[in-house]
Symmetry: C2
Amino acid sequence: MGEHKKMPRASVLRMELCLELLEQLEADGSVYVTSRQIGEATGVSADKVRQDFFHLGSEGKPKVGYEVAQLAELIRSVLDLKTAKKTCLVGLGNLGRALTASNIWSRAGFELAAIFDTDPSLIGTTTAGIRVRNVTEIYGVVKAENIIAGVAAVPASAAQDTADLMVGAGIRAIWNFAPVKLHVPEDVVVESQSLAWGLITLSYEMKNNIKDQAPERAK
Amino acid sequence: MGEHKKMPRASVLRMELCLELLEQLEADGSVYVTSRQIGEATGVSADKVRQDFFHLGSEGKPKVGYEVAQLAELIRSVLDLKTAKKTCLVGLGNLGRALTASNIWSRAGFELAAIFDTDPSLIGTTTAGIRVRNVTEIYGVVKAENIIAGVAAVPASAAQDTADLMVGAGIRAIWNFAPVKLHVPEDVVVESQSLAWGLITLSYEMKNNIKDQAPERAK
DNA sequence: CGGCATTCGTTAAACAATTAACAATTTAAT
DNA sequence: ATTAAATTGTTAATTGTTTAACGAATGCCG
């Protein structure tokens, strides 16, 4: 029985993929699933799947596999997806609007509870049933609503200031979309996900893939 | 003089950060910059900065540092940011619209040249100066326009089909936003960047950060 | 009931990335 | 000139992640 000290970041990402599959299987009425089946369905090697499950203390039966519902619940528990986490969004630009309309929040236990911007023409309007407030109100709103997470969908130039505001208001986790490394106290979690990164890495990979074509021989 | 065989993925991402800083310095008129200065400005250790530069074959002078313009050009070259790469977008939902309006394309050398969707009410309309086409036209358009990269901003259920269409049309690189591992020939590059991942990892980190508060003592 | 095939949990090895260390090089000061 | 301080390019060591391997457990079939 493996004790989960700290799970590799890559494992966490794979768990998300896996959970999606498990919920689908659950809906289809499947009771058991093997690491091989999971691997084939998600495109991950069976070995890696088992190693991941080992990290979170798996409870499968040899020859049978893992109980779908139980495993899904375990993943949700380790990833802490079930506890509700109130969140605020700062920056209602194009990306902010896309995030607001997205259905990813509830899946991970987040609830979008407030939206802030600096644009006077936006303040006071309503998006997704939430009134857009001036970012200067962030302190009071975060305290009053007990918001613990924040999304920074602002230009790079405003990212650090936004982060400072959030930290000052007591937010413990920041999802940052600006291509900037935020400077925050160590008890605040930051997850950076600049959209630009995808294109940059694509560009690099495209250039290098031509050479790798011959030598590499992936299974 | 280091020969760049293959650069770690993390290095590529840091280069993006670094390039942003370099361009800013260039605009400010700075001529030289040291690894320490870069480190302080970007939040990366100076050692790591030098190691990264080593990967791409750096050319700095001891005691002086790196020539800003030259280093920026080197990074653009290794990341292949200057060569134009025509791109198409499939899926004009909220995320697709946000991407369309974004300014990240030209920065990495990409040019959004076509938009596809399946929604009849969208086909024929114009977004960002580009006419939205039926996704069935993708083969012809990609061939005619010489498009080499594609963005899949579609639901998870449609992701693999979209990828197959792209590959069939001759696209060599896919930027995938669906939380799915795409199955493609090995000469096609895939960069996955599901928005959900950010929330998932945030959730996990938030849960674990409480414990790490005391033991860890980061500089 | 007893072997056989399958699958899990765990350990070990291989691989990759980060961090640290250090000699070589250049500027600047005396 | 010569020393001293600073910074680079590179190698070495540490750390972390992925891949492989293998005994133990379980169901299945004769």
